[in-house]
């Protein structure tokens, strides 16, 4: 059976079992062009960013994404001739630099101005319909006796709707944040000698916190978020993490 036949058969079965309300939502099967050619370059086609520099958007509320883009669009676009601004209009230059985080100025503010309202809605709807990828580096079905090691990726970004806290050093939810944009340096490892016991150790640090290089209004550096932890996890119900 070739791939085309499989695809068609799967599609027909999917149509038959899909409930009418969900079917009526018309969830796209392929991303809109604005996602393919623009957003996905940093955030991934399915909203699971590869680089820790960019937030994952999969599963975020569409209105939240639209709200964030609106905030970027409200900020002034960084000038491409910033040297002239710096030399001849230093006050304006400083004002623009202070209007957003360096990361937002470099990547999002300008491109947000290039979007149309229709494109914003399409992108937000697409990403909110995507499933967040499980945090990289471990499997929920990891066999007892194995040792895991995580590589930093998107797991600390856009975590508002995730409940995977078993292996996390310091889970942070978007509910307390202006934005889910972090720049984490995170290493954690765990040992699972038997299925009832897990030993974990980890270290985490943020160089960017809440899209700012300062954690709070008192100028505290993000590095104050450094955390070293050691944990012993017990489970006597016979179900591993």
């Amino acid at each position: 059976m070739n791939r085309f036949t499989v695809s068609v058969t799967s599609g027909v079965i999917a149509l038959l079992v899909t409930s009418p309300p969900a079917f009526a939502q018309k969830v796209r099967s392929i991303p809109p062009r604005i996602v393919t050619g623009n957003c996905s370059g940093c955030h991934g086609v399915h909203g699971n960013a590869q680089s820790p520099e960019f937030p994952s958007l999969a599963g975020l509320d569409a209105s939240y994404i639209e709200q964030r883009i609106a905030a970027f669009r409200a900020a002034p676009t960084p000038p491409s001739d910033e040297l002239l601004y710096w030399l001849f209009n230093h006050a304006e230059s400083k004002k623009i630099a202070a209007s957003s985080s360096p990361e937002a100025l470099a990547n999002m503010v300008g491109i947000a101005h290039a979007l149309t309202e229709q494109q914003i809605k399409e992108a937000a709807a697409w990403y909110s319909a995507q499933k967040p990828k499980p945090p990289g580096g471990h499997s929920a079905n990891l066999p007892p006796g194995s040792i895991g090691s995580k590589i930093p990726n998107e797991k600390h970004q856009a975590r508002a709707n995730r409940q995977d806290i078993l292996h996390e050093a310091a889970p942070v939810t978007a509910s307390s944040l202006r934005s889910p944009n972090f720049d984490p340096l995170d290493r954690s490892s765990w040992l699972w000698p038997v299925q009832n016991v897990q030993l974990s150790a980890g270290y985490s640090e943020y160089t960017i916190f809440n899209e700012r290089t300062h954690r709070d209004q008192f100028g505290q550096d993000p590095s104050a978020s450094r955390l070293v932890y050691v944990a012993l996890w017990l489970n006597f119900e016979g179900v591993g993490p």
Binding site: R3, F4, S7, S29, I30, P31, R33, T36, G37, N38, G41, C42, V45, Q50, S51, P52, E53, T77, P78, S80, D81, E82, L83, L84, W86, P102, L105, A106, N107, V109, G110, I111, A112, H113, A114, G136, I151, P152, N153, D183, L185, T207, I208
Partner: protein, 455 residues
């Protein structure tokens, strides 16, 4: 002389002073692309340091420069941004020994501040599936100035989604083999990214890196799931319809490479990104048939087959970024036309080129680069011979080995300062007495300081 020395000292002091300032991050890239996307150069270029590309920069190029604003305003009236930019480069080059033992200049002028280039560029999306990048450069040839076309790249792209996969398919035309590539391992965008036009270099280079502004291509490429890339292009001489791509090149005066017919170029790579780690492994190659005399393009041709292997690793960790790059190119030469005519001493030959280099970028402001290179090849007295003043042949080997160290400082994204040192262990197959008058390879070493502005 005294005045020149004072000017030189003042300029050096100024450059060092500005180097030591920490003002703004980022450096130049194509200003028109920055206007199109509204992003800073560092979004597409690692640390804002052209031409190193970030994953997003690579995708922006492969997707035909189509991200960002539409060029034309509502209902096609007016422009949403200025799709052109200008560059200027200034600096000075010092040679370890600017004159030979007889007082004849080898590097001239030595240590005097000069303008190196003034360049205009057009880089823009034209539609949602079409984009272009073209430069025209007025360059200092020491002596004299010459205008010539720079990189030219026109792309049309479309995204397909077969079976839930993503397949980006593009059509491309350009004027320099490997210039269409998105990695910094192949010759066109490889390290050193810039060199002084006064810096010395070995005598041999593979044909795949010797066709800049002389050839024109039509090719098709595909990128599957942003992971596997494959391309096949065909190059012909940039005349007739493609003459705009070879602006400034004179084929009739000889000395350039005039391709016969259509010459295939291919490129395949695989890449994987995991968190801040990016790895690429690839291969490329080209089959070139070249007339021995560009002023008389007819009759037998020389044949060059290039085979390349390259790999690049990037670490993109916020304030700390690093890249490690390696490339190996083997060229098999058949001097079917040159050998009977005496232009080559052998019927068959080869070139073996190795480049290993890396860059560390700190906070998108400082770039520390180091590279090691080997450009070896088979002996060929007709091409590479050096004779002493007494008439004895010193070498027929092109083998040249050396290193390039570079420090860059991005002052703003419009202004970059560069200090580069080119050093040689072996030059023209010799480790001493490379000119028969006692000159050592190290005497060819050069220090270059430059200031680059882009708007």
């Amino acid at each position: 002389m005294k005045r020149a020395r004072v000017a030189c000292t003042l300029t050096s002091s100024l450059v060092l002073l500005v180097f030591s300032l920490s003002v703004y991050p980022d450096a130049h890239a194509l200003p028109s692309f920055a206007r199109q996307t509204g992003q800073r150069c560092s979004s597409c270029h690692v640390g804002g340091n052209w031409p190193q590309l970030t994953p997003w920069g690579r995708f922006f190029k492969l997707s035909g420069y189509t991200a960002g604003k539409s060029l034309f305003g509502d209902k096609g009236v007016g422009l949403n941004y200025v799709p052109i930019g200008v560059f200027g480069q200034f600096g000075a080059t010092w040679a370890s020994q600017p004159n030979d033992s007889q007082g004849q200049p080898v590097v001239s002028p030595n240590g005097s501040v000069s303008a190196y280039e003034f360049t205009g560029e057009v880089g823009t999306k034209l539609t949602d599936f079409l984009g272009v990048f073209y430069e025209y450069q007025l360059g200092n040839n020491f002596p004299g100035w010459k205008g010539a076309g720079g990189p030219a790249d026109l792309r049309a792209v479309h995204f397909f989604h077969p079976g839930g996969q993503e397949l980006l398919v593009g059509i491309d035309t350009n004027n320099n083999p490997t210039s269409q590539d998105v990695w910094n391992t192949l010759p066109s965008w490889g390290y050193p990214f810039y060199t002084s036009p006064q810096a010395l270099s070995g005598p041999a280079s593979p044909m795949i890196s010797s066709l800049d502004g002389q050839a024109a291509s039509v090719g098709v490429y595909a990128l599957l799931n942003r992971q596997v890339y494959a391309e096949i292009s065909t190059y012909r001489v940039a005349t007739n319809f493609f003459r705009w791509m070879s602006a400034g090149t004179s084929f009739t005066s000889g000395g350039v490479n005039y391709l016969d017919g259509y010459n295939p170029y291919w490129r395949v790579y695989w890449t994987e990104q995991h968190g801040p780690h990016v790895l690429m492994v690839g291969t490329s190659g080209m089959h070139s048939t070249v007339y021995p005399n560009s002023a008389a393009p007819s009759g037998p041709t020389n044949v060059f087959n290039d085979y390349g292997f390259d790999t690049q690793y990037d670490y993109l960790g916020g304030g700390n970024k690093a890249s490690l790059r390696f490339s190996y190119i083997y060229e098999n030469q058949s001097w079917n036309a040159g050998f009977p005519q005496g232009a080559s001493s052998t019927l068959n030959g080869n070139i073996r080129s190795i480049n290993l280099n890396g860059t560390y970028t700190l906070h998108d402001r400082w770039m520390f680069n180091a590279g090691f290179f080997v450009n070896n090849g088979s002996n060929n007295a007709a091409l590479y011979a050096v004779t002493s003043p007494s008439g004895s042949q010193l070498t027929a080997s092109p083998n040249t080995t050396g290193y390039v160290l570079e420090l860059d400082r991005n002052v703003t994204q419009n202004l970059k300062l560069t200090m580069q040192y080119n050093g040689f262990y072996k030059f023209n197959g010799l480790t001493s007495n490379i000119d028969g008058m006692g000159r050592s390879p190290g005497d060819n070493n050069t220090l270059w300081m430059s200031l680059f502005v882009a708007f």
